[in-house]
Symmetry: C2
Subunit: 217 residues, 2 copies
DNA sequence: AAGAAAAGTTAGGATTGCCTAATTTAGATT
DNA sequence: AATCTAAATTAGGCAATCCTAACTTTTCTT
């Protein structure tokens, strides 16, 4: 059985591996908030349970089993987030942290009930796709707002979910999944993007703009 | 901070301590499914954090702090059970085990939302009172069905929540909290109780009858 | 290509919570 | 009061997961 720590490591590797290159020990350590030494130890242990392949000094990759395990944890995480927002009415900026704990303890039966109650939803509160039971996941359609040029328009498909402050700010300026956005201009010197969202014109910093994905229309 | 193990120990001591005598190491070990040696170790640790007082070879008692902590965990447990039954629609015989894990990881914010959504309920799905925030709890009104004599009548106030098989059986025969019961007879030789519940006459064994509490009318 | 810097691993240790086996204490029996 | 038994405790270990410090390997710079 995979422990909570195992699941967190596997999930972090999955996220860092998008693009499919091997994940470095230090990147993992940074993502998990532990020391590189701890990561080395855990990787040795996890490779024994065949969820990943670790090449000493070269990095780590999930196996098919590891990838499935990661997607199942992500499914739990995202369903729980949506449940907390939709059914319990928690603010969307706080549910990520909650789901980070609950994803390891909610039973399959409870998760199934949540899924049914939510009507088999396709995306979480931040617009991220919810993987299916067997690890199928919709591919990420969308470009970072930071990469769009003046004249582009589209719909917000997803926003980064980690930072509560950022999420509250995005709520404030209506830059949430589903919102219609038009890019008016991009300032060349610092990447600030000038946009129109729900009728209003806004300036968003390059940092914020790279935390928002747009599906162009 | 109290760990999951700490909380389970404290809760078990609270339950065994009803009546207020000190709880023995072996009783605790049996309740928690660990060895007496493990209990001795944990008691030493817990007494350092002032939730209980352990007199070597004499037994253990919760302090006021420990009692409050126990009641807060019990509050979580019971609210979660009710939430799982009422909102998620899980069967009442399965929620105890789920709550046993979730009680340690659900945040105060989530718990508060559950409480509101459920309308500040007074009892859990098995009829057990839900302690308040600050550790106030309704006293247990009711006598075991096993102790009633022919002619007695009343309402089921609570049933034992641990055994799923027993709970399914009680559901089957309608002997659930709120049900009206009349005692027709009690067989002297083995304690079997003959009752009427929702129009039907039933024989229940002494074991079952001692798992059901009745508030007599 | 040599040396320095960065990245990664190993060694050794802490903590938590459990175990078994050995020992000690309390309480009951004679 | 001595002895036996049952209960409880201590001693010594193990697995998981983290840490710091020391060492090794890879990569970058010159
Ligand atoms: Mn999230
Ligand atoms: Mn997590
Ligand atoms: Mn229960
Ligand atoms: Mn528990």
């Amino acid at each position: 059985m995979l422990t909570t720590a195992d699941q967190n490591y596997i999930k972090a590797i999955y996220r860092l591996q998008l693009g499919n290159e091997a994940v470095s020990t230090s990147a993992l350590a940074a993502a998990l908030g532990v020391t590189p030494a701890s990561v080395s130890g855990m990787l040795r242990k996890l490779s024994r349970s065949n969820v990943l392949i670790h090449q000493r000094y070269k990095g780590v990759r999930l196996t098919a089993r590891g990838r499935l395990a990661a997607l199942q944890v992500i499914r739990r995480h995202r369903l729980i987030e949506l449940f907390l927002v939709e059914i319990l009415g928690l603010p969307w900026d706080s549910v990520h942290k909650e789901a980070e704990r609950l994803e390891h303890v909610v039973s399959d039966e409870i998760l199934e009930r949540m899924d049914v109650l939510l009507g088999h939803p396709a995306v979480d509160p931040h617009g991220a796709p919810i993987p299916s039971h067997n690890g199928r996941i919709a591919s990420h359609a969308g470009v970072r707002l930071a990469e769009l040029d003046a004249g582009a328009r589209g719909t917000v498909s997803e926003v980064a979910d980690h930072d509560p402050d950022l999420l509250r700010y995005l709520s404030d300026i209506r830059l949430t999944p589903g919102a219609e956005v038009a890019v008016i201009d991009r300032l060349p010197f610092d990447g600030t993007v000038v946009i129109t969202v729900s009728g209003r014109q806004q300036h968003v910093s390059a940092g914020v703009a790279s935390a928002v994905w747009i599906e162009t229309t």
